[in-house]
Amino acid sequence: MSAPSAQPAPTSPARPAGERTSHPLLRYLVRRLGVSALLIVGVTLVTFVLTNLVPGDTVAANLGQRAADDPAIVAAYRAHYGLDRPLPAQYLTYLGNLLHGDLGESQQTHRPVLTDLRSAVPATLEIAIGAIVLSVLIGVGFGTIAAVRRGHLADSALRLVSLVGISLPTFWFALVAYYVLSFKLDLAPGSGRLSPATTPPPDITGLYTLDSLLSGQWQTYADAVAHLMLPTLVLTLYTVGLLTRFTRSAVLEVLEQDYVRSARAKGLPGRTVLLRYVLRAALVPILTVVGLAFGALLSGTVLVEQIFSWPGLGSYAYQAASHLDLPGVMGVGLFVGIIYLLINLVVDLLYGAIDPRVRVS
């Protein structure tokens, strides 16, 4: 939690007023984190209510047919997971355990949810980070080109590309990419994080690429990277479309501003105007969309992981949801909720760093 607060700090020390500005920032942070904590409790409540108010039967979903017919087994099962107690009591117990960092035990894998998340999250992060970095680079570039060349061929072509990108059903595109690139052309492996013959690197961060590099296993590294290619490609295409469209409209809006015309009129080179004046101002709305795109990416990964047998958060969420595994679902909801709120916070703080006009008062 303290990591994001470190980022805006470097903006102030240059000025003598730095001492005074850090104080309101701190207060702002405390207030934001307080609101975030409340929202996270809200997220758990929503998940809890949604998964409990509905007719689905957890017992039937997790026990086999024969076991579910035996009242003794069912009773023992319900007692083990505390399902025999009133709902408010169940919820309060969950919150109490949460304060101790205990997310409960998955009713489906029979392991602590935290352990499950610990192995699923790095797998998803590995594709999500690659996809978001790639799509920001490509999307912001494409969008800027489209805006600058407005009405020209490049603009029309990029518009077509981005519209097709956001219209692609990710799950279908993943299947096609798998079939063509992996199955037919054998350019990249299509399922899992590593080839069956490769043993996973020692668990340091959980990111196979980083772990294999840290332990100097070059072959494992190459294998992990090869397995990353297809899922990352598929996820990237979707967010590229989104980011291209938004960068284009954000840049267009700035291009119409008077100060851009002034900068041109006083004879600054086009590149300077674009980088120092236009892109800097356009970066604020773009950042918001990057935050949102990361969320879209986490949604996309649910469908993509199914195709590529990727043992990540999406697969875990799918299994937990389809087995009505409440602790599992709550764990995923919590994790994703926290990520969302953190991204929003970082984005808001970065605003201040990029655009002095919106600095926290």
Partner: protein, 296 residues
Amino acid sequence: MTVTAVDSGGLRARFRTRIPRAWRTPLGITGAVVAALWILIAVLGPLLWPHNPLGQDFPRLQAPSGAHWFGTDELGRDVLSRVLAGARVTVPLALLLVGLSVVIGGILGLAAGFFGRWVDETVMRLTDLVMAFPTVILAMVVAASLGASLVNAVLAALVVSWPAYARVTRGLVVGIRGAEYVLADRLLGFSAMRSLRMDIVPMVTGPVLILASLDIGTATLLLSGLSFLGLGAKPPTAEWGSMVGTAIAHFDAWWMGVFPGLAILTLVMAFNFLGDALRDALDPHTAGVLGQAETR
């Protein structure tokens, strides 16, 4: 405040006069034609199907040929007929989903923007909560707990879809509720309800409907995604998403998955092309508001 009111008034005028021009862009025309084709296919239904989409009448897993343009599936059903029949499932459900989201989100957004205070706070915090989840994960949880069926998939998608409309509607209402003509009517003795109906709703309808038209593609993707996961349409229903899902298990028979996917792609693309053309023809400010809601 007056400025916003004038802007929205201008928007309504543009809404009427500019639509024809919007359709004259190549993308807009393509979108309109393809969307109209899919709607026609959905309406005509059985008249167009070469074979019974549920009939297991042919040899299994036949590659595309003159007799079966899109091949046959793992149960010997004609894929072309199933793809055409799928339009009858997806098109109406996507429209229904968007329609319901507009109504629910619109009403909540109207209330939040017009009454403010605790109503506003409650509704906006609710939208925050829903938007803190990635759409597919939340919809998946709801669909799984309701049980797999198409109706439940629509309900689940509804849970994640309404907040965008609530936010946009609220934003528009906040922009005009202080306008002089609204205040004047209130001073004349209009009740809150009458003011809402006469002054607010007509100003908000246009932009929200445009957002809705932009959203049909997203709705289609969400619904077919849920069916792909096995949380929507149940076999033997000919639904595009679930057809792609079945195709995973029959990897060699590429035609089983490729054609239903192309159907989703063309339908979503058509609506996105249309929406894009529509948005371009509109007031850039409103377009910005709508665009922000779209990325949720």
